[in-house]
Symmetry: C2
Subunit: 244 residues, 2 copies
DNA sequence: TGTACATCAGTGAACGCGCGTTCACTGATGTAC
DNA sequence: TGTACATCAGTGAACGCGCGTTCACTGATGTAC
């Protein structure tokens, strides 16, 4: 039974108390993350914040690693919800608008929750290996959304043809792209897919630079303008034309 | 007196032993970093590896934070040396070639030293604040090198004019660009500078995705081809034409 | 060249701390009849 | 509706561990005369 299930049913009082407790643990765990970072996440400290003795947490969470997993899933879903809401607010055929909304939503969430963002997209937590069977689905929501926008634009013919000299796609890369296309049921050709991957990494690269403080303290005051300008260029790189 | 100074002089045996010891501490500290991550970096563990009692390390390093600073500077300089060597191997006027060499050197070093890369470009270490007066110079070597290549290309007229519709640079961003241009003595206009910043963040974004495992285990087998393709696109984005 | 003293490297014990996890326990909440 | 029992939440003590940092100390290496 998942947390959502037991919450939805609002079953017995005990079950309600139980899911409330897990929610508290995750919430305070996230605060703890924000203050001390993922590597220093401590079950004991979270227990103190929850107002319970440290061993009591083991009634709800198997181990420190499982708490990390819960925080990871929670973070992915929060980010996914924000991105979905932002994208859904834009007309389905306004591909450029949806792309920008996605990018702005990622940045806004990352700046609001830098510690969660670091857990999701920063350096791996030493000694911790995320259980793929639980994190893959929430962890791929944003990229799937982005791919969905770009592929829909491609299908509708709204993507601008490639500019400049033709770029050769080497065979190994072509094979990778074919696999992705098959797995996700995409229409776009290798060239556009490869551009999409670059747009993806570049988007997160720009957000990470800002969140992780790579720009330095003083350079770039107008960071929102800088990011929006980046988005415009990435939009062009992806082949998305304005207002389509 | 810096480490390099005392080494160069090869002064007294004691001084040689001293700088050798510091070098050992940094070297083994880096190994420790690789295995356990920056947040878990422990003076005691490094001392054990060096073969000395933990308190002895305090003769050479003021505190755990100072060891982190030494590792940070060491990492920046190693990366900087690699990048410099790769760039210098290409003719000065082959701007596109130098750009690609820079990108490939960053990626190669990051994959060889993922933990150092994570310390430099990953999530910040909680509770640690790098002392700007010691880290800024080594920490800006790569970006200054990149800016140098792009600005030299601009001055020589080798940069392609902007393609596609004119992008408006808002006033705040323009002011930031003017400040950067003045500080570094650049010639390039706002438009090219802004593209340069995107190229910079995108380059590190692509490397970070690969080093931090964001691509997942199975997607993208041909990662070198993928990265080189990214570099080609970024080269185009920067306005660098082939063979110039 | 030889002696007396100062400097330095490294030792080992100790400080107080927080961590993850286990375990036997006490009450409170639920369930079966 | 009331009693007897089972389930669960939370307690508090304990385990063994590693950490950063301090301090008085022993020898070895250097320096001044």
């Amino acid at each position: 039974m998942t947390i959502a299930d037991s919450k939805a049913k609002l079953a017995t009082p005990r079950e309600r108390a139980r899911s409330q407790m897990i929610a508290d643990i995750v919430r305070l765990g996230r605060e703890h993350l924000a203050r001390h970072g993922a590597a220093a996440l401590s079950l004991r400290a979270v227990a103190r914040d929850v107002g319970v003795v440290s061993s009591a947490v083991y009634r709800y969470v198997e181990s420190r690693d499982e708490l990390l997993t819960l925080l990871l899933i929670d973070g992915y879903n929060e980010l996914g919800d924000h991105v979905d809401a932002a994208v859904d607010a834009i007309a389905e055929t306004d591909y450029a608008g949806r792309f920008k909304a996605l990018g702005l939503a990622v940045r806004a969430w990352a700046l609001r929750e830098p510690a969660s963002y670091a857990l999701l997209f920063g350096s791996p937590v030493p000694g911790y290996q995320a259980p793929g069977e639980r994190t893959t689905v929430p962890g791929t929501r944003v990229i799937l959304r982005l791919v969905g926008i770009l592929d829909a634009a491609y299908r509708s013919g709204a993507l601008a043809p490639q500019q400049g000299p033709a770029v050769v796609i080497p065979s190994g890369l072509a094979a990778d792209m074919e696999a992705v296309r098959a797995e996700l049921g995409l229409a776009a050709d290798d060239e556009f897919l490869a551009r999409g991957v670059l747009v993806w990494t570049s988007l997160f690269g720009a957000v990470s630079f800002e969140v992780f403080g790579q720009y330095g303290a003083d350079t770039f005051i107008a960071r929102e303008e800088l990011f929006e300008h980046h988005l415009s260029m990435l939009q062009g790189l992806a082949g998305l034309r304005e207002g389509h």
